[in-house]
């Protein structure tokens, strides 16, 4: 069943990086586990066993997809929890080792991680429990491996770099970083201070190589609702032997790494979403990339005063992020919404804070360029017709908003001189 335009009441959804609709096959697989197969996967009776068997099958599908073992998969409530568990869990394991007492560990991350990673790192820094290096990002939206190599210190415990940036869709050199860390670790005589490598792959799973062996990661986070699975479920892949401890106290679920009753229905949905994804992945990447390239080309050609944010080639096949001059993103978003089109913006005004996207500012954009940004993300239900309508409506609302703003920006800067 296609979740097409008419199924959404004629509206056009171009915000697949925010979330995706649950695939029909996934939903069908999940349904019995809400009511008739409702057992607690930890219970020993038949109700529990039925749920546990289905969870095991989902775990196996996931393991097969990520090329790891079933025991390396920890189901969580989503990427935010996975990222918190990865960073805080590694730090907690480090601190538990008495030999490490008094020696503050070092974490390397980037300036444009998702807020759940950034805020975790900032908090650890503030508490005094870790020192953190934030790698810069360049105008193409990609970090430099050489910067990372230079940032490694004797006490570096963890490197955490996102695979694909959620706003601008740029791809980070994860496999290359994996090699650098492996090389560094192999030179160390004392295995106690091996650097662990974590990646937040939330936006990458549907579009990039996700073989954890090739990537060389010890920890990988992902979320189900970005790949046509249900919300509220995700996972953290933890390579066997990784020194990590649970951060939430309670039961011994998920190999004693994540206490709490298993969200079996969600997990089963995630397992199915992975199966569906795996089956069509290459075909869909090709189709979505063609549509996205068509969109970028059309927007840059037909709309004046626009720029594409982030590298044109090294970006997720489903992402286009533009900045339009003389308009503000929230206004643009709401005007488009009134036309039945759903997109996203890095403008401050939409996020409940007063400063614009830290990602766009990190790329070196001026505040007004960051305020005038629009993120358009495609998915498996996107059609060319939808994009044609989108660009036509975009032109219309831009014209309207640019009329409202007149030449204010130009005037402001000419007065400043």
């Amino acid at each position: 069943m296609e979740m097409n335009n008419s199924a959404r009441g004629g509206k056009i959804y171009l915000d697949y990086a925010a979330t995706t609709p649950v695939d029909a096959e996934v939903l069908k697989t999940m349904l019995p586990y809400f009511s008739s197969e409702f057992g607690n996967a930890s219970s020993l009776h038949s109700f529990g066993r039925n749920a546990a068997d289905a969870v095991t099958a989902a775990r196996e599908s996931a393991a097969c997809f990520f090329k790891c073992t079933s025991e390396e998969i920890i189901f969580t409530s989503g990427a935010t929890e996975s990222n918190n568990l990865a960073i805080k869990g590694v730090l907690r394991a480090y601190n538990k080792n008495k030999k490490n007492s008094g020696k503050k560990p070092h974490i390397i991350t980037t300036v444009f991680e998702h807020s759940c990673v950034l805020k975790t790192c900032q908090k650890l820094e503030k508490e005094g429990s870790a020192e953190v290096t934030y790698l810069p990002v360049y105008s193409d939206g990609i970090i430099k491996v050489s910067d990372l190599e230079k940032a490694i210190k004797e006490n570096t415990l963890l490197v955490t770099v996102m695979y694909v940036n959620n706003e601008i869709g740029t791809v980070q050199p994860i496999a290359q970083i994996g090699k650098v860390i492996k090389k560094h670790n192999s030179k160390l005589l004392d295995t106690k201070y091996q650097i662990l490598f974590h990646t937040d792959a939330t936006q990458a799973v549907a579009y990039f190589d996700i073989n954890v062996k090739r990537l060389g990661v010890d920890l990988l986070s992902m979320s189900s609702h970005k790949i046509y699975g249900p919300k509220g479920v995700g996972m953290l892949l933890v390579k066997k032997g990784t020194k990590i401890t649970q951060i939430q106290d309670g039961g011994a679920q998920e190999f004693a790494l994540r206490a709490g009753t298993l969200n079996s229905t969600g997990i089963i949905g995630l397992g199915k979403a992975i199966e569906v994804l795996e089956k069509n992945k290459q075909k869909e990447i090709k189709k979505i990339k063609e549509l996205r390239d068509y969109l970028i080309k059309k927007v840059l050609k037909e709309i004046p005063s626009v720029r594409l944010n982030g590298s044109r080639s090294k970006r997720s096949p489903n992402n286009a992020n533009f900045s339009f001059s003389d308009v503000e993103g929230e206004s643009l978003l709401l005007y488009l919404d009134a036309e039945g089109i759903a997109v996203s913006t890095g403008s401050a005004c939409s996020s409940g804070s007063l400063s614009p996207s830290h990602v766009l500012l990190a790329l070196g954009l001026k505040p007004e360029q960051a305020h005038g940004s629009l993120r358009v993300t495609l998915g498996k239900y996107t059609t060319k017709k939808e994009l044609v309508i989108f660009v036509a409506k975009l032109k219309k609302v831009l014209e309207k908003l640019r009329k409202v703003s007149g030449e204010l920006l130009k005037e402001y800067y000419s007065k400043k001189k």
């Binding site: 308009v327 993103g329 005004c349 939409s350 409202v404 007149g406 204010l408 005037e411």
Partner: protein
């Protein structure tokens, strides 16, 4: 964050939007860092009975939904008022007339009242 119906109405169909080519007063406030720039143009006519009256008012705004809505609303509130009356319009008057603004957007209503005050000051200077 939800906008009131009034905010959405003024945002989608702003009143008094545009330029006055021979204004008696102009006020521009805001900066691109915070994301909002606002400019108000006024035309003033002397009325025997009421004194100086704002006979026409227009605005241009680069900003979010509430920046546009507050600009539109303040032009409605000021139009036909005397200079003295118009100077007394506060940010709260603007926000109330729009049936409230989300707390984080209150600075937008401040910007609108500042732009009007700046236009009135400009008029007084030119007199």
């Amino acid at each position: 964050m939800n906008y009131s119906k009034q905010v959405i109405d003024h945002f989608t169909s702003p009143h008094n939007q545009g330029v006055i080519s021979d204004p008696d007063g102009v006020g521009m406030v805001g900066n691109p860092t915070c994301g909002d720039l606002m400019k108000i143009y006024i035309k003033v006519k002397k009325n025997a009975k009421r004194g100086e009256v704002i006979s026409d008012i227009k605005f241009e705004t680069l900003g979010c939904a509430s920046a546009i809505a507050t600009s539109s609303m303040i032009t409605d509130l000021a139009k036909g008022k005397t200079i003295k009356e118009a100077s007394k319009i506060t940010r709260d008057n603007v926000a109330e007339a729009l049936n409230g603004l989300p707390p984080i957007k209150m600075h937008c209503s401040n910007l609108a009242s500042e732009a009007l005050v700046a236009a009135i000051e400009d008029y007084k200077k030119k007199k």
